[in-house]
Symmetry: C2
Amino acid sequence: MAQLRVRTEPLNRHLRAAPQLFERLRERIIALDLLPGMPLSRVELMDEFGTSVTPIRDALQRLADEGLVEIFPQHATVVSRIDLAHAAQTQFLRRSIELEVVTTLVRVADEETFGQLHTILTQHRAALNDLAAFKRLDMRFHQAMYEAAGVPDLWALVRSRSGHIDRLRALHLPIAGKAKAILRDHGRILEALEARNAAAAQRAVHEHLSGTLTQVAAIAKRHPDYVRES
Amino acid sequence: MAQLRVRTEPLNRHLRAAPQLFERLRERIIALDLLPGMPLSRVELMDEFGTSVTPIRDALQRLADEGLVEIFPQHATVVSRIDLAHAAQTQFLRRSIELEVVTTLVRVADEETFGQLHTILTQHRAALNDLAAFKRLDMRFHQAMYEAAGVPDLWALVRSRSGHIDRLRALHLPIAGKAKAILRDHGRILEALEARNAAAAQRAVHEHLSGTLTQVAAIAKRHPDYVRES
DNA sequence: GGCCGTGCACTAATGCATTAGCGTTCCAAA
DNA sequence: TTTGGAACGCTAATGCATTAGTGCACGGCC
């Protein structure tokens, strides 16, 4: 069978192979380049990346930890179907943390923090037409809040569990005005923080993080084979 | 050098070796049977458990993911020192989630949930003098709340990050009245839930989860070599 | 002549490659 | 329909390559 993939960038031989494989595969799965249900053949991956099975095994194990692949011992490894329960729990997790983050920031944030957030928000507004930059700055705004609240690791934790949600986003229809809504929400959060108004900040976070999973039912109906029946 | 360990229970040969090794080592590290800074030799572990290096490598990798060991490539693998920043962030994580859990339960909990929690609390009170059972029922109370709120995976997540906190607890001096305070807090939480009083439930959770890290400074001073300088 | 610094070689431990072993699945034949 | 066998692919074992750390020796300097 002819490989449709144009070519695979070779791995950096001076770095550990397993983490690089993990990142490459994770990106492909989240971009739906590797589709849910697709089997991952170790020998194919060996050929493609020019390594042996050990680093591939390590990478697949870590992907399994994040729920992006399922390993059936002595049988097969396949890209996992999108787990709506997992996505919902991750969303719950993120909301929980960010509510506490803004509550903390209302107490402890200083002018430097506010300056950072304003800088990011300004760049973010300017990137309205650059999708990649827009996403990056969206994440950086949240990351900056986690760091200022003293919990940078929890941002990494949320990111590491976001695989299923990211795949749902990749299936989203583009929503008119979504980007502007994000900018508006970030503005409201920052405004409430500067006003030292915890209740308003929590309301803004709650609103910001509640809309994400609304299209889930429609997506599940449109792509039943990508979603875990349960 | 003579091994002080009496004997090592052999692994179950019908199950995967790596997960069993992971659990065994995790328990020993958390019980401070393996002390922070102690090197973990793969050949010693091979001898002790009668496996080859592959499952040992897998187990150590997972322990490194949870922060319980540090792997220095081409050099050594050692039991990690207790990371106070990691512990604090995990406590933040747990508090965030449980505040949202009780907020959710105030809305959605039914009589069956309340019945479960009452049953656990009753058993918990009866186990005041059985330390192991007391700890188990403490955890089960929280676990039951997570499950009733629809986020069972988040309980597992919190547990998987609790290694550093658990080791701090193992260094705690026994605090007089600690057990009764736990029972009192659980009672208050359940009471607030049944009254459908979100604010009271949040206050009770906050109080319940804030006392844990108070002795940290004293512990760090008493065991400077067990704690990560940072 | 003694001491300090540099460099090389040896040791040890991890990452990776290779191979053996074994369980599961699927298909075909009775 | 049931059973047996073959293929597939994951786990585990073994061996090799790579690299960080250590100690000793040599040379230069005080």
